[in-house]
């Protein structure tokens, strides 16, 4: 049975300094509220894993939470670059950032292997590219039947995976729909998992396209309304495309970014504490 907890407690108990942490959500249902909570709790030395480290990881990287990033595409979708990510890679600011770089197909299969309890996955990938030269977690394997050589990538098994979903019931069964990305795999691959949801309800009405994670496959659930903003939660709110553009102006400059952390992330935490809001987010 998954515990129903506050976002503060969920992150506090499940995310530890030095952990390998995956926040997943492919454009849709990105766990932004949880990302800000990690910044507020001052986590350090995280190895962050994510196929598309968009602005949620730009924020964590800029705030100095990460020592390493495992990823396949790091940009601000539809806008341009991730300036905090670039600054960390190019100038080690605020701390050096080691990177481990894959393709989407490789990352997706690494999660699949992790969710499947296998040590590695096989794919037709990377052949002829410069990625294997720089990424030690790409090797080659020979088919025992045909002799063909294929790429192999090791399983991803994060210490903790965090995703956002539309709903959970009071037992902690989680329901999401729309684009579901690699969230199921990320949760099943992880040692612990935290699912933030738009709302906890008495009963999960079936929805076309739903993916349901049973309560016994999830460690904790925290209510976090609008917890995917500025990304979106299908059936709840739309993607805030303006915020992605706005982020470009915040992330571009170190001081502006620091101001954002102070004024929007830390202040969000104080506001929450002051009002005793158990969800921990607006």
């Amino acid at each position: 049975m998954a515990d129903i907890v506050s976002l503060t407690d969920g992150v506090g108990e499940l995310v530890r300094d030095g952990d390998v942490v995956a926040l997943e959500g492919f454009t849709h249902l990105i766990p932004h509220a949880a990302g800000r909570e990690i910044i507020r709790q001052g986590r350090k030395d995280l190895t962050l894993v994510r196929m598309t480290p968009d602005i949620v990881y730009d924020q964590l990287i800029g705030a100095g939470c990460a020592r390493k990033l495992i990823f396949s595409w790091g940009g601000n979708p539809g806008v341009g670059s991730l300036h905090r990510f670039r600054d960390a890679v190019q100038h080690a600011w605020p701390v050096p950032l080691e990177i481990e770089e894959h393709s989407h197909a490789g990352m997706a299969n690494r999660y699949v292997a992790g969710a499947s309890g296998l040590p590695f996955a096989v794919l037709r990938g990377y052949r002829g590219t410069d990625l294997p030269e720089h990424t030690a977690t790409i090797k080659w394997i020979t088919c025992p039947f045909t002799g063909e050589e294929l790429a192999a990538v090791p399983a991803l098994n994060p210490d903790v995976s965090i995703i956002h979903a539309q709903r959970a019931d009071r037992a902690g069964n989680v329901q999401m729909w729309g684009l579901v990305g690699v969230q199921k795999e990320a949760v099943l691959a992880a040692g612990r998992s935290l699912v933030t949801v738009e709302e906890v309800v008495d009963e999960l009405e079936p929805v076309v396209g739903q993916v349901v994670l049973p309560h016994w496959a999830v460690t904790a659930v925290a209510e976090a309304p609008r917890g995917a903003h500025p990304s979106y939660a299908q059936g709840y709110y739309e993607r805030d495309n303006d915020y992605y553009k706005y982020w470009d102006s915040i992330g571009r400059d170190r001081e502006t970014f620091r101001g954002w952390v102070r004024d929007e992330v830390l202040a969000e935490g104080s506001a929450t504490e002051a009002t005793g809001d158990k969800e921990g987010v607006r």
Partner: protein, 264 residues
């Protein structure tokens, strides 16, 4: 070499469309009706959606976010917009997109962008500079591109042309085009035909059937061969059968602009 068309700009009159619009429309025209097209965001998505609204209503759009057969009524501003899922024939998880649909060669056309593109159509979206560990510019990285470039039956690249982006050799091979020339893809065991078409804001390049080197085969209206040469970082060859792109029709332009406005 006797180009089939005038190699200087056709006319001094100011066209009523931008070179980006010409590029999108040229790219849209390249998409045949009924084809399955793996669509990257930005220029490829714009072109694919124009095609679907003009000559190719049966074009099947596949987005790596997990949609098969999306029919968005506005231009998605990301590859994972809700409209892509809501209008799709099927919504699937990301691992399935790559493993069941892309990898086995079910997709006709992979539609990619590039930060750097070289003479043999190899694509770099990883780093600018010689040192991967200490890059001049850190780019977003691979995303789905390496396997799209490997597995789609053919690849169309849409990219703005400049001497900075069209280089002799890319700093980093993120996605293989034709490697170091004809035969390299076969030797590597890459199943698709690789880039068969590179559509820019100046014209269209195609791989030479003998060498796989990208050759200028088509000029957009108002563009001279020398303009393209100046925007190419290698000694550009021009096809004997150089053609001239037809200017955008009023219908094409209006479709493109309506789409773009609706997505503001």
């Amino acid at each position: 070499m006797t180009p089939a068309v005038s190699t200087t700009a056709a006319s001094g009159a100011q066209p009523d469309y931008t070179s980006d619009e010409m590029m999108s429309i040229a790219a849209a025209r390249a998409l045949e009706d009924g084809k399955r097209c793996f669509v990257g965001i930005g220029l490829p998505s714009t072109a694919a959606n124009v095609a679907r609204r003009t000559h190719a209503p049966g074009l099947v759009l596949i987005y790596e976010s997990g949609t098969l057969g999306s029919k968005p009524d506005v231009l998605p501003s990301s590859i994972g917009d809700g409209v892509l899922a809501e209008t799709a024939d099927a919504v699937i998880g990301v691992p399935e997109v790559f493993n069941y649909w892309l990898q086995p060669g079910r997709i006709d056309v992979g539609f990619l962008g590039a930060a750097q593109l070289d003479r043999f159509g190899n694509i770099n979206t990883t780093v600018i500079g010689d040192d991967y560990a200490d890059p001049k510019v850190r780019l977003p990285g691979a995303g789905g591109a390496p396997e799209i470039a490997a597995s789609c039956r053919e690849v169309f690249v849409v990219v703005r042309q400049s001497a900075r982006s069209f280089v002799e050799k890319v700093d980093f091979v993120t996605s293989v085009g034709h490697g170091s020339g004809k035969g390299d893809r076969e030797a590597l065991g890459l199943p698709g035909a690789g880039p068969t078409l590179v559509i820019t804001d100046l014209g269209v390049l195609r791989p030479d059937p003998e060498t796989a080197e990208l050759v200028l085969t088509q000029l957009h209206p108002g563009v001279a061969v020398d303009d393209v040469r100046a925007a190419t970082g290698w000694e550009l060859r021009v096809s004997d059968e150089l053609t001239r792109t037809e200017a955008p029709t009023a219908a094409e332009l209006s479709t493109l602009r309506t789409l773009k406005e609706a997505s503001q």
